[in-house]
């Protein structure tokens, strides 16, 4: 029996290839995802471990999560602590770390590193005059103000060498420094493509923090002292708001954080792999059904000569195992390739990933092979059982087993119940607001399964609806339509493959387009300023107050308000106070007041958004107890309540009220209006005033919308790329179904040829059938996608009130066209085969 099964595997090469390809694509996706994510997290882990090379114990400021007495950040570490640490028992040496952001301009004035991670630090010479973290490759270390050292990659990117001048921005005004050296380092951020500029310690402290203070103190243990021993001796000298950790623990924590960061990406990619496999299952089931149908007589003969049912099933399953194993191994190899390609693609986009070997973990190999074999065998199980049910008498019969229509009643009932329940849950979820996510996701899954179960039933009316169009093609059109509904189950399985992909992509496109519209609208309604000035580096230090001061002096600037944020506790909850210019703010933002107005702002009078007000039952005139950043208490009075949105929310006060309490006075944004509105001229003027600062963004409304849009576009493009995979699998599925149809109908095709349908007509018939099936899947997918898009939008609208459902008709048209293209491409080979069919062999009665 084993030999017969193996011989069968080899006997049908073309079909075998198709099955292997289907399984392989799924497995390749899974393997590629695992290899890619493993490689990256391995590399990050290695680079983060390297980063702790010269450190045994690190002291950092420690802020308790819910410290009511100190709403502000914990104070940085003092020089005194550094001296004590260096002298503590078991310590060999200690150095202080100062961190901050430093944006560097290349010689054309553009930011190096695209704002991904632009850091600044200090060079702390030890006893031997060297800092163990940095290795000077060229020139020397910075020693005084005005001197700077660059990491080698940054120097290369900006074409800088020792002796050049470079324009640098830390928190606002541009500074021109002299490059005195170029260094190499193991620092994880630099390895990941960030830029790093080093200053001497005093300058760095002046630029980034307060003089004489450090962000971190790294202690090296003396020979023979363990990290934990050193830690316990250091713990004794720690001030209240500081903590010490061993380097081992820090490295471990960092590795864990990286792994967590990667895991969401890995999950997302595995979801796509799952979809590819899910779609692949249809193909595998179809292929094995086809194999069984073609071999009905052969299998019946085997039954007639004495093979048991179990033996027949087993022969099909053995065949599936072989196919699955071969496909899994090929898929694994392809997956490793995909992993490598993904990494180089990521590298070429500028998001430099640390170098490291491709990581092919044993679990990756095992998962891929198991997934490939198990999916194939499970998919072949149903056709295998069907094969076993072939009665021995079928060997004497010329007709192939006709597809049963029995069971469709049960199937339709189950499908209707599932689809109705799913749709009801989704609609209910959409009405529930932010609590509706769970029910909606569950409902969506149930609905998709329900529609999938119902596809055979839906195929008849939907395909019948295409009749008027198909009539143009005459008889081939009519035959194509009838052939498409002849085996509803198979048509459904084929169309479902496309449906799943299109549902996802349509839903995502609808949501992204609608969100874009909502954000545009919010920017248009909520933003009155002509320009918003902010720091271009995320996570960098906010703008120095100098920025708004120098801009305010311009005669072209008619109104200007800095926005500064100060951590505080409001009515017992941690919150941040937003300080604004009370006179200018009403020109900059549009806010709808439910009570009070802009006029109330000033002194201790605050404006609060409706959510906070509702939660605390505040009205105009309510008195709110606050603890400021520096720990001092105070009282604010509610002057007005406004409708908050994504851009403006929280507690807004006069900046003069919060500024005295802030540790560092800085603005996260400056909003302003100019004479003549947003013009090229005004933008140039603002840029010039800020000294062509590479790190400062000057954006008008359109720029802000575009920036948000680009994030969606990137996400959508990634989705489109990954879903291309599902489409390829769908094409294979359609080819498979058509090949099977052509095979089953060879007699009819022969007859049609004999009584006068020419080759072109036969080809047209097969192509149209393919087109009809693909478009059927496409229409189902689009409809579900739009429905899900609408439902998810209802949830988003609770967060983003200006959200508005926009149906991207051109895109949807494109998707439908793509589905049609899938049909046409998939039909190429089966149509050719049908047209070339040997007429005589086909009509001959067996």
């Amino acid at each position: 029996m084993l030999r017969t099964a193996l011989r069968n595997v080899l006997a049908h090469k073309a079909r075998l290839l198709m099955t292997v390809l289907a399984v392989m694509l799924g497995v390749a996706f899974v393997a590629g995802t695992l290899v890619f994510t493993n490689t990256i997290s391995d590399a990050y882990q290695k680079s983060s471990q390297k980063g702790f090379k010269g450190v045994d114990v690190a002291i950092t400021p420690d802020k308790k999560d819910d410290d009511a007495a100190h709403p502000g950040e914990a104070p940085r570490l003092s020089q005194r602590l550094l001296d004590q640490a260096a002298k503590s028992p078991g310590a060999a040496s200690a150095y202080g770390v100062v961190k901050g952001s430093s944006s560097l301009a290349d010689k054309k004035g553009d930011l190096i590193g695209g704002g991904f991670s632009n850091l600044g630090g200090n060079y702390y010479p030890g006893a031997n005059g060297k800092d163990p973290r940095y290795n000077m490759a060229e020139g020397r270390a910075p020693k005084s103000a005005g001197e700077i050292a660059l990491d080698s990659r940054t120097a290369e990117r900006g074409h800088y060498k020792a002796g050049d001048s470079i324009r640098v921005s830390v928190d606002g005004p541009v500074r021109t420094e002299k490059v005195v050296g170029v260094f190499t380092t193991d620092d994880g951020n630099v390895a990941a493509g960030g830029t790093l500029a080093l200053y001497d310690t005093v300058t760095a402290q002046k630029l980034f923090g307060k003089p004489g203070q450090f962000d971190e103190i790294d202690v090296k243990a003396a020979a023979g002292t363990s990290q934990s021993t050193l830690k316990s001796s250091i713990d004794k000298i720690l001030p209240e708001q500081a903590k010490a950790n061993t380097a081992k623990k820090l490295a471990k924590d960092q590795a864990k954080a990286i792994e967590e960061g990667m895991s969401s990406m890995q999950t997302a990619m595995l979801v796509f792999a799952g979809i590819a496999l899910f779609v692949g299952i249809f193909i595998i089931v179809n292929t094995f059904s086809m194999l069984v149908a073609q071999r009905t007589r052969e299998l019946a003969l085997m039954r007639a000569v004495g093979a048991t049912r179990r033996q027949v099933t087993r022969s099909v399953l053995i065949e599936a195992t072989v196919v699955g194993a071969v496909a899994a191994v090929v898929g694994l190899a392809a997956g490793v390739g995909i992993g490598a390609v993904l990494r180089s693609v990521l590298n070429s986009t500028g998001a430099t990933v640390p170098d490291g070997p491709l990581a092919v973990a044993p679990t990756t190999v095992l998962t891929s092979v198991v997934v490939g074999v198990v999916v194939t065998v499970l998919s072949a199980w149903l056709p295998g059982r069907r094969a076993a049910k072939i009665p021995p008498v079928a060997a004497m019969n010329s007709v192939h087993a006709a597809p049963t229509t029995r069971g469709l009643v049960v199937r339709n009932t189950i499908g209707t119940i599932l689809a109705a329940a799913g749709a009801a849950l989704v609609v209910t979820g959409a009405r529930m607001g932010s609590d509706g996510k769970g029910p909606m996701a569950f409902g969506a899954a149930v609905l998709v399964i329900g529609v999938f179960v119902l596809t055979p039933l839906l195929s008849r009316p939907l395909i019948a609806a295409a009749a008027p169009v198909l009539r143009i093609f005459g008889m081939p059109g009519k035959l194509a339509r009838q052939n498409a509904v002849r085996n509803p189950r198979r048509t459904a399985a084929t169309a479902s493959a496309l449906m799943v992909g299109l549902t996802l992509i349509t839903g995502m496109t609808v949501i992204a387009g609608s969100m874009q519209k909502g954000i545009d609208k919010m920017a248009a309604d909520g933003l009155r300023s002509d320009y918003v000035v902010s720091m271009g580096t995320p996570g960098g230090r906010p703008l120095s107050p100098e920025v708004s001061k120098s801009l305010a002096k311009l005669p072209e600037v008619t109104s200007i308000s800095p926005l500064r944020s100060s951590p505080a506790r409001v009515a017992g909850d941690s919150a941040s106070l937003m300080g604004v210019d009370p006179k200018a703010i009403k020109d900059q933002v549009g806010m709808d007041f439910t009570e009070g107005s802009f006029g109330a702002l000033g002194g201790t009078k605050a404006l609060v958004d409706d959510k906070i007000a509702d939660k605390n039952h505040w009205k105009v005139g309510s008195v709110i107890p606050v603890t400021y950043e520096d720990g001092r208490g105070g009282k604010l009075t509610v002057g007005g309540i406004y409708e908050g949105n994504q851009m403006i929310n929280g507690v807004m006060v006069d900046s003069a009220t919060v500024t005295p309490h802030m540790a560092t006075v800085a603005d996260f944004q400056v909003m302003l209006k100019t004479k003549g509105g947003a013009t090229e001229h005004n933008k140039d003027l603002l840029k010039k005033t800020l000294g062509q600062n590479p790190a400062i963004k000057i954006q008008n409304k359109q720029d802000i919308s575009d920036e948000i849009a680009s994030a969606f576009t990137l996400m959508l493009n990634m989705l489109y790329g990954l879903l291309a995979m599902a489409v390829i699998v769908a094409v294979l599925g359609v080819i498979n179904t058509l090949a099977m149809s052509v095979f089953e109908r060879s007699k009819e095709i022969g007859m049609l040829r004999a009584i006068g349908l020419d080759r072109g007509g036969i080809k047209r018939m097969v192509r149209l059938e393919s087109l009809v099936i693909s478009l059927f899947g496409g229409v189902l997918g689009l409809s579900l996608g739009v429905f899900f898009g609408w439902a998810a939008g209802e949830l988003i609208a609770t967060e983003l009130p200006s959200y508005e459902l926009v149906l991207p008709w051109p895109r949807m048209g494109l998707f439908l066209l793509m589905a049609a293209l899938v049909g046409v491409i998939a039909a190429l080979w089966p149509a050719r085969r049908a047209a070339k069919l040997n007429m005589l062999a086909a009509i001959k009665a067996e």
Binding site: L479, R486, K747, G750, M751, A754, I755, D758
Partner: protein, 260 residues
């Protein structure tokens, strides 16, 4: 009952030929494995005549029909339908010729299961995009006795009824010639007799030309003329046959085949 000597063409009727083969040969394979299926066959099928082609299996009777009907290519010689030389036609023209000038009846009925009886009958005209002649169609349908079953699908009809649909399909387009390949092979004797009766009537009453391949002497007896094939050659022919005379002739061939 007059018989003619071997290979001598009887031109006693004044009717023209609906189809004609001249020195038609069909060879399969090459060199050592070469098989000569038809060896310089010359034959005419007259208009408004019911001709049966008979012969033992492997005699080339089906091959002759396939070549004459433009279903198969020929190796040498000529095959004509009316005035049209089939050997000069490309696939597209040949397909059109089959569609417009030839009707087919197959042993396995070969109806499309997705179409109802009427749609199957008008299929060749639908493919051509022509309208059926309604009066003629009604007459054909009435003749084969399917009037009450036109909306039925093939799987709702008996074998005999299905073959009657096939006969109606062949007749509906008023082709110049109908080729029937063992039309009664899959039918019981009563249904077979019905179908053969229709074919004979279509010749007698409607002036149709029919060529039928069969190995059944009873079926052959419905024809006006029987052409006998053996080893790819025409070996005899018989006019106004009866089942007995055909059987006699077959037996003679068998005996001859064994002695020679």
């Amino acid at each position: 009952m007059t018989t003619t000597p071997f290979g001598v063409e009887t031109a006693t009727r004044a009717t023209a030929a609906a189809a004609r083969a001249t020195d038609l040969s069909k060879v399969y394979g090459e060199g050592e494995t070469q098989v000569i299926a038809l060896d310089s066959v010359s034959v005419e099928f007259h208009q408004a005549e019911f001709t049966a082609i008979m012969g033992p299996s492997g005699s080339g009777k089906s091959t002759l029909m396939h070549c004459m009907a433009g279903l198969d290519t020929i190796s040498s010689g000529s095959a004509r339908i009316g005035d049209v030389e089939l050997t000069t036609l490309k696939d597209k023209k040949l397909t059109q010729l089959r569609r417009d000038k030839i009707g087919f009846i197959f042993q396995a009925f070969n109806l499309l299961p997705t179409l109802n009886a009427l749609e199957n009958i008008t299929l060749p005209m639908d493919i051509a995009g022509r309208k059926a002649d309604q009066a003629w169609l009604d007459q054909v349908v009435a003749t084969v006795g399917l009037a009450g079953r036109l909306k039925h699908r093939p799987n709702q009809l008996s074998g005999g009824q299905q073959q009657r649909v096939a006969v109606a399909r062949a007749l509906a387009g008023q082709p110049e010639i109908i080729f029937a390949d063992e039309p009664t092979g899959n039918l019981d004797s009563r249904s077979g007799a019905e179908v053969l009766g229709f074919l004979r009537n279509s010749v007698r009453e409607l002036g149709q030309t029919v060529v039928m391949v069969t190995h059944d002497p009873v079926a052959a007896a419905y024809s006006d003329r029987v052409v006998f094939l053996a080893d790819g050659r025409i070996v005899d022919e018989l006019r106004n046959p009866t089942a007995d005379s055909v059987l006699d002739r077959m037996k003679r061939f068998d005996a001859k085949g064994r002695t020679s």
